[in-house]
């Protein structure tokens, strides 16, 4: 099949099917079966259809046309995640490279470029065209797009099935919300909203797939916002709960803060390059117009990132006078680099918001107010991954300096979120912080130049985090609380949940046997990140603390809090007898997706499935070679170098040691109880309260952002009434006063005086004239004659007076 036409078609169908489901449920959801039950089936059917279409696109179109092959660089040592397949041949699962040292005699050229990745791109329709500028809805499909489609639709399908069970309460009439107490002291009774939940899920899937398939930045932004609003609806699903609607608002507004940065980045690119297209799209004349990527990484520049002429011109226009004033002439190398840096960091700001990175991570934990399937789908597997996805998609545009910013943000996020997760007792919030932390790792990987490592972790994490959330939902469903201090010993009551969750925990900490091909999926992806961190620090030792050691420490913390969670929930003796007694394993419709996801969490990273290599094939052109920063000293090393044994081996050992330490510590405290957590809490009181209060971010933001903004709002409102209107009223008062004075001085004396005089004069004249009316006819005739003569004289006189020139 021709991928140029079939791929867009298949993926468009996969993308639009959930939209159709959404529209149908909006209009008819209420009438779909008892309490809208069939709306759930419809939405599930839609997403399963989308999944089938996506996998068809992958297996029937993509792989036959663009088979997975080993990287063109034969010199690489094959890592735990790679498949050695003959170049140009169809992907076939093959034996992993056994001898790790065998290939090292092939030197890796750090400056060599990767091959151009295959992609299919085009436009569907135009939103508006202004001269050469055009905003469109289009597609850009490469291995990453197809892979993300499969991942998103697969996890979404699991979540839909799971939600059919989890949201079952909403089918009851009336639904009693125990978290809402009305003013009369009763709990809220309301109609179930089963269908509405699936309506939002469908819209969400449509929006998320829209981001993935988007062919240009403007379209990404459109669906970016739509995903945000779906998240708003889903977090605030329990609209009666004030905490839920507040969390929804917070999520949307914090995301908009990120979008503000994203808009800045978009504007910078728009003003300087004038296109948002990723790839080269043929115009009406059939000529391929270069998109962003090929404009910034031209063949002439050997696909290195070099600002375009138009960017340099734009930067000169912006800063020209400043530079002239300070006497700084931008040298050739740095020309346009600042603008490119601003654009990159701006776009990244959007990703910071969406992926809940420091400093905009505050919304994600609160977002756990939504129903758990939402947390699983939206806030772990897909939506928050959109930020990472965009960084990956937009990778060719990030300068090494921007990548350094990304790496630092990622690293700081990873460690901050992980530490907060240590003390949290709400099971979903632990997972939320864990998500934030893991997304930080992905950002870190991307920032370090580990494109494949980052995207690989994105895929593996989606499966095990989706699994973990759904397991936690299963627990919550059973014990009706999120609080882990009320749980314990549940593995006996709900074994499937417990052991699938254990798989998830092992996957997230990266359990595996170091230097072999045996491990959970997280083992492969996390090791790839740590290796790249080693690689980066090897070239730039000054960044070792933040970019090499912090991630390792974070790995230890991750292992600690994940197993703290598992032990507190499933191990030991029940803490709350009542809840324990009522606990039960969830129904099949919920446990089956858990098992499916557990299988993926275990195995998706395994080399024989070739996910790593498929991603490697999508690596954007020009991003493999080692890159040098122009503005300051930054080196982004070739990712292949991270597979060198001298980097790989210590990194792998460090990663597993860290995870082991964390796991051991958790076991000591929460399973063997050799140390009492409460005593620890007392001895680290200050630290504990800082962690318990999430490092006081909410309080800080409230103080420095929310309060001032509200204050400014009040000021503006006061200024209107107090100043502008006061001036108006003052002016009006002056006018009125003045008119009174005028009234008194002028109207009453002069005007009224004149009028009155005139009136009395007329009256007097009338009285006098009356005396002429004598009734004497001769007298009248005399008046007429005299009058006529006088009139004639007057007219003659006036005429000669008025036209003096003619008389001259």
């Amino acid at each position: 099949m021709d991928p140029q036409s079939t791929l867009p078609f298949l993926l468009m169908l996969a993308w639009l099917t959930p939209l159709a489901s959404f529209v149908a449920i909006v209009f008819f959801g209420k009438y779909m079966g008892p309490h809208g039950k069939f709306a759930g089936y419809l939405a599930t059917l839609a997403i399963v259809t989308a999944a089938v279409l996506s996998f068809t696109a992958l297996f029937a179109v993509w792989l036959p046309n663009y088979p997975i092959k080993a990287s063109a660089h034969h010199g690489e040592t094959h890592d735990a995640g790679e498949v050695a397949a003959a170049t140009g041949e169809f992907a076939e699962p093959s034996e992993p490279a056994h001898d790790l040292d065998a290939d090292t005699h092939h030197a890796i050229d750090p400056n060599a470029n990767n091959e151009s990745p295959a992609y299919v791109t085009g436009n569907w329709y135009s939103l508006g065209k202004f001269g050469k500028l055009e905003l469109t809805i289009g597609y850009y499909i490469d291995a990453l797009t197809v892979g993300m489609f499969c991942m998103v639709t697969l996890i979404a399908s699991c979540v839909h099935f799971y939600a059919l069970g989890y949201m079952h309460d909403e089918l009851h009439e009336p639904f009693v919300d125990h978290e809402v107490t009305l003013s009369n002291g009763e709990h809220l009774h309301r109609k179930g909203r089963f269908y509405r939940f699936f309506q939002y899920l469908s819209l969400f899937c449509f929006s998320m797939l829209g981001i993935v398939i988007a062919g240009n930045l403007a379209m990404v932004f459109v669906f970016w916002e739509l995903v945000g609003i779906c998240s708003y609806f889903l977090i605030g699903f329990y609209i009666e709960r004030h905490s839920a609607s507040t969390a929804a608002n917070k999520a949307f507004i914090v995301n908009r803060v990120g979008d503000f940065g994203m808009l800045i980045g978009m504007m910078a690119l728009w003003a300087s390059i004038g296109t948002f297209n990723f790839g080269d799209i043929k115009n009406d004349e059939g000529v391929a117009e270069p998109g962003l990527f090929s404009q910034l990484r031209t063949e002439a520049n050997d696909h290195h990132l070099v600002p375009t002429e138009s960017m340099i011109a734009e930067e000169t226009r912006m800063f020209g006078e400043v530079a002239a004033a300070t006497g700084e002439e931008p040298t050739k190398n740095t020309a346009g680099q600042w603008l490119l840096f601003i654009a990159g960091v701006g776009i990244f700001c959007g990703c910071v918001g969406k992926s809940a990175q420091f400093p905009l991570h505050v919304w994600l934990p609160d977002a756990m107010e939504g129903p758990t399937p939402v947390s699983a789908l939206v806030h772990s597997a897909t939506m928050v991954a959109a930020g990472v996805y965009l960084v990956g998609r937009f990778y060719p545009v990030f300068t090494p300096e921007a990548l350094l910013v990304i790496a630092y943000i990622g690293s700081i996020t990873a460690i901050i979120a992980a530490t907060i997760a240590i003390t949290a007792t709400d099971i979903k919030r632990v997972l939320a912080y864990s998500t934030v932390s893991q997304l930080g790792y992905m950002m870190l990987a991307l920032g370090l130049g580990g494109w494949v490592a980052g995207m690989f972790h994105l895929i593996t994490h989606a499966f095990f985090k989706g699994l973990l959330f759904m397991c936690s939902g299963s627990v919550i469903h059973a014990v009706h609380t999120n609080d882990m201090t009320h749980m314990g010993g549940l593995r006996k009551k709900m074994p499937i949940t417990a052991y699938t969750m254990l798989i998830g925990c092992l996957a997230i900490i990266g359990a595996g046997i170091p230097l072999t091909q045996i491990g959970f999926s997280g083992y492969f992806s996390k090791d790839a990140i740590i290796e790249q961190a080693w690689n980066y620090a090897d070239k730039s030792p000054q960044h070792s603390l933040f970019l090499k050691w912090l991630p390792v420490i974070g790995a230890a913390v991750t292992a600690f809090y994940m197993f703290r969670l598992w032990y507190m929930t499933f191990a030991g003796a029940p803490r709350d007898k009542h809840r324990y007694d009522h606990a039960h394993e969830s129904p099949r419709v919920m446990t089956t997706p858990l098992i499916v996801l557990a299988v993926f969490a275990l195995a998706i990273g395994w080399p024989i499935f070739g996910v790593y290599d498929m991603l490697d094939q999508a690596r954007p052109l020009g991003t493999l070679a080692t890159a040098q920063g122009q503005l300051w000293d930054v080196v982004v090393p070739n990712e292949l170098l991270s597979h060198e044994p001298n980097l790989k081996q210590p990194a792998a050992i460090a990663a597993i040691t860290a995870a082991g330490t964390g796991l051991l510590l958790a076991t000591i405290i929460y399973l063997w109880r050799l140390l009492n957590p409460d005593e620890l809490k007392q001895s680290f009181k200050l630290l504990h309260s800082a962690l318990w209060n999430k490092w006081y971010f909410d309080e800080l933001y409230n103080l420095i952002f929310v309060k001032p903004v509200l204050w400014l709002g009040s000021f503006a409102a006061w200024f209107d009434r107090g100043v502008i209107d006061s001036i108006l009223h003052g002016a009006a008062a002056i006018c009125r006063g003045l008119s009174k004075v005028v009234d008194f001085l002028f109207d009453q004396t002069v005007v009224d005086g004149t009028v009155n005089t005139f009136a009395s004069g007329t009256w007097g004249l009338g009285l006098w004239l009356r005396r002429l009316q004598t009734g004497n006819l001769r007298q009248y005739v005399m008046f007429i004659v005299v009058g006529t003569v006088l009139l004639f004289v007057a007219i003659t006189f006036l005429q000669s007076y008025l036209t003096p020139t003619q008389n001259l």
């Binding site: 459109v222 608002n249 949307f252 803060v257 503000f260 808009l263 409102a717 209107d725 108006l728």
Partner: protein, 605 residues
């Protein structure tokens, strides 16, 4: 005298409501309901008349994709002053005319709860519609001014008689503000009139001004000669003046023709003379007109009439006020300020953009602090209309950018789109507030809550419309905002960054309002029993608004196709003008080519 004559068709369109008002006034007293029904029928008929323009190829139609004036006609009205009954439509006015007719229908339908002096209400409402349509269609400056004033008076009474408790204050405030604007406009009109001179235009320019008609393959000079032979008073006067012996001492042939004034502003130096304080005639004319128009828009700091007027006005009048009246400001800037006074526009571009950005930011902040639902929506209008002023003003076709007009086109089209989009979303928002007010008779944002459970359909529509105001993709507000915001950087990155920041504030006040009104467990205000679902009449107002909000959000080219050719041409003309202007300046002052031009200097920072 057939309907296929633009003069008849457009006159019918404009004056039918006034005629109906007159008939109603002399008719014996009828039941209140009948007046409403008659008025509704009239507004619907007018709307149908505007739909008639969509019949492509019909004798009367609006051809999509054409940039020039269509359905132009020209009748002498007061020949001694060169005043004409001169109307026509192009891509700038046509969408606004349709919007006006559309919103008039919806607003009339929303007028059913009005029970006081219904006859007078309907008469004034219809007069208002005549005024609004006339403003958008008039191409003679005097006629424009007359319609502008015609619209003012009914509005004054509609607020002052049918309004809320402080209606008189609000009505007078509205009246005085607008009157000040009108007076300034009148001064500017007279300044331009007395400095205009039709004899300075060449044949093509006269044709562009709609004064002479060139046959399809005709020659402009021949058409001019033929016109001079005709018996129109203007042509006679023109011929008479042209026959005067000494070209330098000829009398001026003054005109109110807006299109002719545009030609003079762009192609002659008639308005370049110094007027006052070292600034030219056109500089002052621009400033006076601009102030007059931004009062209407309204922009900070001339906006304080708007919240009061909206809060006091009855719902349908708020819909008209926000949906149509505010657009007249933007329309005036686009139709009159820039094309007639390009030099001043060039000088003051940064000032214009600054006013736009200030309104966006200030309006959003003020909206955040409001406790009254309607007042909050009113301030959101101030903020959203700021996008319009900003988009119109981004004069980025300058030497630095190689006179590239594309970004400015995007901004101006975005502004125009935003006008229509705001017409839909703000009318919808005011309607939504009105639905609540009709039921519970209060607008205190803190005393709502839980409406989603009680009025699910209404809440769904309302949230959709509010999201259109928030600028959510897929809804009309997004397109206008994004087109404007993306175009600004090329003009000034500082303003661009500030304007982008407004997206946060907008999300803040709209989501907060939604949370307080529609979400939550319980309704916290008085009259909970009155919260019944929407009636069919209300649905038939809310649903079309939401439907259009979605339609234009998903498929914006449906609207852009109509407006864009005209706007693009105007921007292209101004870009050419800018280049010529700079070249002239360079020729005059080769040492410092662009010094002393405010717009040039400030566009860099």
């Amino acid at each position: 005298m057939t309907l296929s004559d633009p003069a008849v068709y457009l006159s019918l369109l404009v004056f039918l409501p006034a005629l109906a008002a007159l008939v109603m006034a002399v008719l014996p007293n009828l039941a209140d309901e009948s007046y409403k029904l008659i008025s509704l029928a009239v507004t619907i008929f007018v709307f149908i008349l505007t739909l008639g323009f969509f019949r492509s190829g019909a004798p009367i139609s609006f051809e999509r994709g054409a940039a020039e004036m269509q359905n132009l006609f020209n009748v002498e009205w007061i020949p001694s002053f060169g005043i004409q009954y001169f109307m026509g439509m192009d891509g700038i006015s046509f969408p606004l005319v349709v919007l006006t007719a559309f919103l008039s229908v919806l607003a009339m339908a929303a007028s059913w709860p009005i029970n006081k002096h219904v006859k007078a209400y309907c008469i004034l409402f219809l007069l208002l519609e005549t005024g609004m349509l006339g403003v958008f269609l008039a191409l003679d400056f005097f006629l424009f001014y007359v319609f502008w004033e015609v619209m003012l008076l009914p509005m004054y009474f509609l607020i002052g008689v049918w309004g809320g408790p402080r209606r008189e204050y609000a009505a007078i405030k509205f009246f005085l503000y607008t009157l000040v604007g009108s007076v300034l406009m009148l001064i500017a009109i007279l300044m331009l009139y007395f400095n205009s001179d039709l004899t300075r235009l060449n044949a093509t320019q006269l044709a562009d001004a709609g004064i002479i008609n060139i046959a399809a393959d005709g020659d402009a000079e021949q058409a001019l000669a033929a016109w001079q032979e005709s018996d129109s008073p203007l042509a006679k006067k023109y011929a008479e003046i042209m026959s005067e012996a000494n070209p330098t001492e000829r009398r001026q042939l003054n005109t109110f023709n807006i299109l002719a004034l545009q030609q003079m502003g762009q192609h002659t130096d008639l308005f370049e003379g110094e007027a006052f304080l070292g600034q030219s005639i056109q500089w002052w004319a621009f400033l006076l007109l601009f102030i007059g128009f931004v009062i209407k828009v309204p922009s900070v700091p001339l906006h304080t009439w708007l919240p009061d007027a909206h809060v006091e006005a009855p719902t349908p009048i708020s819909m008209i006020l926000a949906g149509v009246l505010l657009k007249m400001g933007g329309y005036g800037i686009l139709r009159i300020c820039y094309p007639i006074c390009p030099g001043a526009g060039y000088d003051l571009a940064y000032f214009v953009c600054f006013v736009g950005v200030l309104s966006m930011v200030y309006g959003a902040f003020a909206a955040l602090a409001q406790k009254d639902f309607k007042r909050m929506v009113a301030y959101s209008s101030v903020s959203h209309m700021g996008y319009v002023v900003l988009g119109l003003g981004v004069w980025s076709a300058v030497a630095d950018t190689g006179y590239n007009p594309d970004y400015w086109k995007m901004g101006a089209n975005g502004a125009m789109f935003q006008m229509i989009a705001h017409g839909i979303s703000s009318a919808g928002m005011f309607f939504c507030v009105g639905v609540l007010y009709d039921r519970v008779h209060h607008r205190d944002l803190d005393k709502f809550g839980g409406l989603f459970a009680k009025m699910p359909v209404y809440s769904g529509i309302a949230i959709g419309i509010f999201f259109a105001g928030l600028g959510l993709p897929g809804l009309c507000g997004f397109i206008g905002e994004v087109l404007v915001v993306l175009s600004v950087w090329k003009y000034s990155y500082v303003l661009a960054i500030i304007s982008a920041a407004v997206v946060i504030l907008t999300a803040g006040y709209i989501l907060w309002a939604i949370q307080r009104v529609y979400l939550g467990a319980e309704y916290k205000g008085p009259h909970p029993e009155a919260l019944v679902p929407m009636t069919m009449r209300e649905l038939s107002i809310g649903v079309p608004l939401l439907a259009f909000a979605i339609f234009f959000g998903v498929y914006p080219t449906a609207m852009l196709n109509y407006m864009q050719p005209t706007i693009d041409r105007q921007i292209d003309d101004l870009a050419v003008w800018t280049q010529e202007h700079d070249e002239r300046a360079t020729a005059l002052n080769p040492l410092g080519p662009q010094e002393g031009t405010l717009g040039q200097l400030s566009s860099r920072n």
